[in-house]
Amino acid sequence: MFKVFWSVLHRDLLLAVRRRTDVLTTLVFFVIVVSLFPLGVGTERAVLRVLGPGVAWVAALLSSMLALERLFAADYEDGTLEQLLLTDQPLVLLTLAKIAAHWLLTGLPLVLIAPLVGMQYHLTDSAITVMMMSLLLGTPVLSLIGAIGAALTLGLRGGGILLALLILPLYIPVLVYGAGAVTVGAVALGEARLYLTLLAAFLVAALALAPFACAAALRISIE
């Protein structure tokens, strides 16, 4: 059982190591999007401070979503997904392994780079801490929900942008509470506790439900 989980996880990480750029690109995309705004909006500190949390979270949403497009697509195109569906292992587990690998490769790096964003937007230290925590709790939810969309749009032409259309609205709660936490957290860490608790609750719910939906979606899409 866990052997299978590990071997799929290991495979995906190994593939990422082979093409190191994939991990890097999500990260760099995030940084670029974040850096574009001051160019479009202007560089007044007061404005930037208000903008910071929202921009960082929208950028996280977008980069998570972009990376999701390839979550199952590569496996679908070369036929390995078909083979995964034909193993005698529970598909939910395989799906979860793939989502886990995806988060490790694209969500976790965002958490680690968050302080950089904080600096770019002149956020306070406590806001930066809250931002890291909210990303840590929120990005797995993005991966989990997004995986459903990725499975549904598998193999469709124009999949990337269709995926965006399907899942960005579903990301809204995470965005609202994630960005909300950071905004509130600018004053004091404690203020954000409620927000973070809510994000944690989302995470638990998503962990319990999303893999099943995703497995069902995969079965539908492979036909």
Partner: protein, 252 residues
């Protein structure tokens, strides 16, 4: 899926049944809407006084409220049919879900449009990020997502099931989304119902509004059923009963 009644019998008997129902719905829709229009324009006061002072433009209410309600009701019905389809694997329910979507999207758009137009004289802006407005916008995106996913997949069977799964996921997420928009600050969720829908309004206004909504309901039934009929024809083109049906007008 293998049960015969769910595969052929249902569409085959459903088709002629709807053929008889649709005209009834059309007539009812036209009647209700006309009555509502007449009542709305001629039997109601020219402006609202008092606390919610509104000039002539308040007449938008008759379509605005109906459209907004329909948009939500139709989404609920869509999800219900999708769920039935996934659980019982009946083709007709998928078709129903799929047939509701465009009408739902139209009403959502109308709620947004009429609301925006009303907002201009009333609030001085076409758009504001008020929770209710934002929710309606998100609902519009959800409709579009459903339609886009369905039409992006060529294989009807896959399209039905994929889009239905999306609708179910929506069912779980929609309350969370709407609640998060309504209540962006979890410390102060009391402000949820800042504008209660119907306060003390003139009975005539209420009558016109409700009649219009009823007309919209009838209209939705009619369009949905018509769309289902088209779908049945295209999807079951090979079956004997469709061929008979097609042959019938040729003979006559």
């Amino acid at each position: 899926m293998t049960k015969p009644w769910s595969r052929f019998a249902a569409p085959a008997s459903f088709y002629p049944l709807t053929g008889r129902l649709i005209p009834v719905f059309w007539v009812l829709a036209a009647a209700f809407i006309l009555i509502a229009l007449y009542w709305g324009f001629f039997e109601t006061p020219d402006q609202l006084g008092g606390s919610n002072a509104q000039k002539g433009y308040y007449r938008i209410i008759f379509i605005h409220v109906g459209a907004a309600w329909m948009s939500m009701w139709l989404y609920a019905m869509l999800v219900a049919w999708a769920a039935v389809g996934l659980v019982f694997k009946t083709r007709l329910s998928f078709m129903m879900a799929n047939a509701i979507a465009p009408t739902g999207a139209i009403f959502t758009f109308l709620a947004l449009w009429t609301g925006a137009i009303w907002g201009r004289p009333s609030w001085g802006t076409y758009w504001d990020w008020d929770p209710r407005l934002t929710s309606e916008l998100i609902l519009f995106f959800l409709y579009i997502g459903y339609i886009a996913l369905h039409s992006a997949i060529d294989d009807n069977r896959r399209a039905d099931r994929a889009a239905s799964l999306l609708a179910i996921v929506g069912l779980v997420m929609v309350p969370v989304i709407f609640w998060s928009i309504n209540c962006p600050d979890p410390n102060q969720c009391a402000a949820l119902h800042q504008r209660s829908g119907l306060r003390k309004v003139d009975g005539n206004i209420l009558f016109a509004m409700l009649t219009m909504t009823l007309g919209f309901w009838m209209y939705s039934f009619a369009t949905t059923l018509m769309r289902v009929r088209s779908m049945i024809l295209t999807r079951e083109a090979e079956t004997a009963w469709v061929q008979d049906l097609v042959r019938a007008p040729e003979r006559g």
